[in-house]
Amino acid sequence: MLRSILVAFWRSFTRRPLYAALNLLGLSLGVAAFLTLSLLYRFETSYETWTPEHSRIYAAGVAYNFPGFSRATRVGAMGGLLEEMKADYPDVRGVRDWSQAVTVHKGAVATGEQMELVDPEFLDFFQTPLLAGDARTALADPGRVAISEDLARKYFGGTDVIGRTLDVTDSEGRATYTVSAVIKALPKNSELKLDLLRRLPVERTAKEQAWHHWGSLQLFTFFKFDRPEQARALEAQLPAFVDRRVGRTFGDDVVPHEMLALKFVPLRDVHLLDAKQRAAVDTLGVVGIVALVLALINYVNLATARAGLRAREVAVRKALGAGPGALRTQFLGEAASTIALAFLVGLAVVELALPLINAAGGLSLSLDYRRDGAWVAGVFGVVLAAGLLAAVYPAFMLAAFKPAQVLASSRAPSGGRFGARLREALVVCQFAAVVAAFVLMLGFLGQIRHMQEADLGYRRDGLYLVLSTRRVGVTPEQRNAFWETVRRIPGVTAVTASSNAPADDDFNSNSTAHRLDRGAPPEMATTLNVSSIGPDYFQVLEGRLVAGRMLDAQHGGDEQYNPKATPDTVTNVVISREAAKVLQYASPEAALDQLLDFGGRKVRVVGVAEDMRFYSPMEKVPARIYFFSGLPAWWPADWPITMVRYSGMDEAAMRARLETAWRQAAPGAPFEGKTALANLDRYYKPQRDRSNLFSLGAAAGAGIGCIGLYGLAAFNTSRRAREVGLRKVLGASSPQVARLLVGQFLRPILIACLIAWPLSWWALRRWLAQFDDPIGIGPGIFLAGAAAALAIGLATVGGLGWAAASTSPGKALRSE
């Protein structure tokens, strides 16, 4: 039987190459799309599985319940959470990871790196894979560092570097550290960046006020539990713990755990904690499944269409003693062989296309058969099982042919009315998916273009951001010297410094405000996002004033740092239009000269500025309050980011001049800068990448749909050849016959549109709901999606229809 199956399978390729190629190509495309998106799904959902402890580790998270503030859980904690937890629950095990930007010096070259200040047991806690060193002792000494093998190669040219030294400037100043461990390169799907690790100097940091500032997300804290129920049991006690520990810090009438909920987030869930991100990954997974289903629909369509051609073979086999079971085994065996070959071809397509897919989707997917062998086998099992399930109908249909009837008939059976209806229904399903994919693709592209072109409230081009001015170790004098030099660069029109910049949320501080003209009812308080700004801030951004005036050094009350300030001192501020709205002023003008209590500080609104979208297009533009300082060079180390407005110069030339100016001003610190457009791209790129991936999946789906339609059209056209001849004998012209043949395939496409439109409208509306500023959904994209599907359908079957219609009637009548 096996030989018989393989012979039939092989002959189907050698004797009917077009049918076999269509079948194989459709299946392979579906398998390739499914494999790729499965790879992506696996990549995205297996973050941190590099640590054998991943199922036992949880990250501390916080969900705030502040007015006007998102209630989503954020991963992070105040520095002192671990000590406070240990004080109340002595058995708790945890470590912290505090990322800091540092400078590594090698000779005269200064390079910016990220250092992780961690608890000494961090490496052992995560069972971090090491090339050299002892995880338990490597970070015991504050003078030691553990580095990644990549960093070892970068600075020492190899990985045999235990005992070598690194010269690093961090928040404690410049010091030399001895390398005590080399960490194996972690897979790319890890949120942890373990390049340079040093012991967290708790003895110093614990004395800082911010270390026990409830509500801050200073660093990451990880806890380990042997069993999930232990984590859940402790989590249940956290509200009481928060109430106990916060006390009256949030106010007399406030129940702390109602304002701030502590959570344990499983380590594997950290990467996709954001529901929108999770939904995006799930959507791509669904696209992969849909592509495979479309391919299987194709298979069923072509197999059932071709079943009629095999009816006589079935009848002969039955007459020769084949029972239904043997025939079903034969046809399912042939299906399994086809699916296995399609899987291999699909795998080869994936291998060839991965560089393109990685580039289009901003991914780093790879297939390593030694490592991924079991996974590939598992996916094959899924594809085979789904394929065999799909093949059951054609196999049973074939095995059910009555030999006496088939042998007595001159025409091959077609599966009857049910078979024809089923095939049409399947084509409708395929094209509904294609139309929906087109509509969604157009919607995605429209939204992405809108995000990149929409008015953000400031001019995003011609704006350069220099982040180096807030690097640790950079002095106020160096900052001032840099700014002075930059102001003299030809083409630079204005320079400013601020704590926030487009797409830079390293400094993100929020506090509650309430209007003093209404007393101080807590329920009227709202959360405002704070920006500290230097001179010329609005001029550099080309932000727009809605009412009042900007802040400047000429007005004494504008300066936020006043050494003679008393609790009654009023500081002038500018608020955003959104802030005026959430503070319930009747108009921006009505907010002018009004007094607010902002985090216990008295402020007066002297201006209202247009909202400026600095952060993700998926987030609401925060209500913002601007505090002015005429001397930003003296701000805390990690605040001042430099913004430069320039014109008449390209980005590379601007960068070169800024870099030269920086090297003159601060030779010991690395230059780090990029345009606002490049910085903002980090918000657009994931959307663009996902849209690209979706488009690739949709293109695969459309290709599969076309292959299916072509195969079915070819089959039906050949079956109707005799009818074509008869119609022509009776006087039909070639165009009339072509219209008849093509028309039968346009009907399912039009029905598909009616199904796809409401579904894609619903899906697009859901997708757009994640954006703060979504595009409107007009009828244009639905019509365009349908037109594209129709054009593809026409191009696919038009040629076939015309060729059949042009056949001479005599030849057509001799067919069958």
Binding site: R15, K318, A319, L320, G321, A322, P324, K402, L407
Partner: protein, 226 residues
Amino acid sequence: MIELKSLSRRYRSDEIETTALHDVSLTIRQGEFVAIMGPSGCGKSTLLNILGTIDRPTEGRYLFDGEDLTARSEAALAQHRAQRLGFIFQSFNLVDDLTIAENIELGLLYRKGRQGSRRALVEAAMDRVGVGHRARHFPHQLSGGQQQRAAIARAIVGEPSLILADEPTGNLDTENGAQVMEILKGLNAAGATIVMVTHSPSHADQAGRRIDILDGRLVASVAQAI
């Protein structure tokens, strides 16, 4: 060997009931060569299909070597065909995608139990009908006569006790038709029981008995001298 008792076969479509066979009783002995004749639509092929168990009677009984096949399951009938029957069709019905050797091997494929070397049996059958040199060819590469000889080889490869031939010379010219008849007569002489439907009186005359059917009824059964 074969005993049909009051056999009827009716076909029912949406509104019309057609009687293809009506109260047919017939006995065929081991080693007989029976020719069935009658006009188109008289029920010849229906009778042959029932004898071949690829169709079932509506009424009556069908005994084969004393065994009642009327109510046997599909699977049992399939095994019966695989073990005991050989089919020859007017339009050959070779499977296009299989070579001549593979087509002939189909006659052994669905048999249960050990079959020894199928290849040797296939080669012997091909040699008996003179298509050994065409073993690796596909059906469309052979002439009609060669295709029918290949079909005969497929029917006899398993040495069945009954060969059913449905107008085996219908699609052949006179010379090839005569050759096929010679092969069938040779098989019968070697002990095979053959039931042949034919339109050709001259070919019917070469059988040991001729049965005439008209409108689904058996109207004559005449023994003939060969």
